[in-house]
Symmetry: C2
């Protein structure tokens, strides 16, 4: 009896650098982590392979899957659909392997409403951290820029509370290290370790 693998969702405000962090994480993938391949209706670009870069689907097929509730989340950009197929992720998790998804905030909230046992990681803009330091160092400045920034900061903090973990993307290397730490810690969960032993002892 292997415990079900974990599902990690990396998300954050647009422009925070989710893609860069995710690519760096998988570049040195000694994590035993499976990257969740998205489905899309757009045409494959040069060298892109079906089942590697994306699952390339027809619009009809994609819409059929939407109607059957086969996506953990999906969105439409311009004329094309992008989505995360549920069955593929379930299959990997059932094999006891961990899956990693990188998606927009809206998509993450769709997953949140459908999956109760995923781990949600929010990538924080470094300027939120800088704002914090500025406020600490200089006291209560109150120019327009700061006020505008404070407004955005409050929105980002509100978003953050829908997640399990928050990681500042001040340096990509550091953010990747922290995400690896979250992943490694989840693998020390007693239920997971116990399941491994039980499996071996019973074989």
């Amino acid at each position: 009896m292997k415990e079900r693998g974990n599902l990690f969702i990396l998300s954050g405000p647009s422009g925070v650098g989710k893609g860069t962090v995710r690519k760096e994480l998988f570049k040195k993938n000694n994590n035993n982590l499976i990257y969740s391949i998205s489905a899309t209706t757009r045409e494959p670009r040069f060298k892109e392979k079906d089942g590697v870069d994306y699952f390339f689907l027809s619009k009809n097929k994609f819409e059929e899957m939407i109607n059957n509730g086969e996506f953990l989340e999906y969105a439409q950009y311009v004329d094309n659909y992008y989505g995360t197929p549920k069955s593929w992720i379930d299959k990997i998790r059932d094999e006891g392997k961990d899956v990693f998804v990188e998606i927009e905030v809206k998509g993450a909230m769709q997953v949140r409403s459908k999956v109760s046992d995923a781990t949600f990681i929010f990538l924080l803009p470094p300027d939120l951290e800088q704002l914090k330091n500025r406020l600490i160092l200089r006291g209560s400045e109150s120019d327009e820029v700061i006020n505008e920034r404070l407004k955005t900061a409050r929105q980002e903090i509100k978003m953050m509370t829908n997640y399990d973990y928050a990681v500042v993307n001040d340096k990509v290397e550091l953010a990747v290290k922290k995400i690896q730490m979250i992943i490694n810690t989840s693998r020390m969960k007693a239920s997971r370790v116990a399941a491994e032993y039980i499996q071996i002892l019973e074989e």
Copy 2:
């Protein structure tokens, strides 16, 4: 508004090396972690200081505190009491600091029944890991020693499932590193990070 500090409980079968791991963890304490001082009715030994090594209490005082429910857990060995005072830990946690307790399995289970938001770490005997490897490598040996060991292993695994995390104590250094990882990951919890930002933005 600072989020309440975490309470980490390190425990495990007797003889597993809890004390050694805990001492090593605090030797290089760059963790901002507060070690929970136990209370006892035994006499201070050479160089031991009240409020540093132990809270040294009279038997009357200790029993009064038991009756008032002032211990998270306590036990009696020979003629003396040993226990973990609740109010001291609550005070530190309310200041937003993390507290670390190292106790016997029975004590940990007492804490489990009283504190809902603590993090329980089970230290696994390395021979459980060795048993696993032996079973993997040699198939199903079935001499008496292995069977006896299997019985103990099953008890240990059963204990483990009452904890949040399980860490193998194969090498002290490595076990310490893993415990630090669990502590650091808990500090990336979104609720905690958000609370920090909210505190700063509102000041």
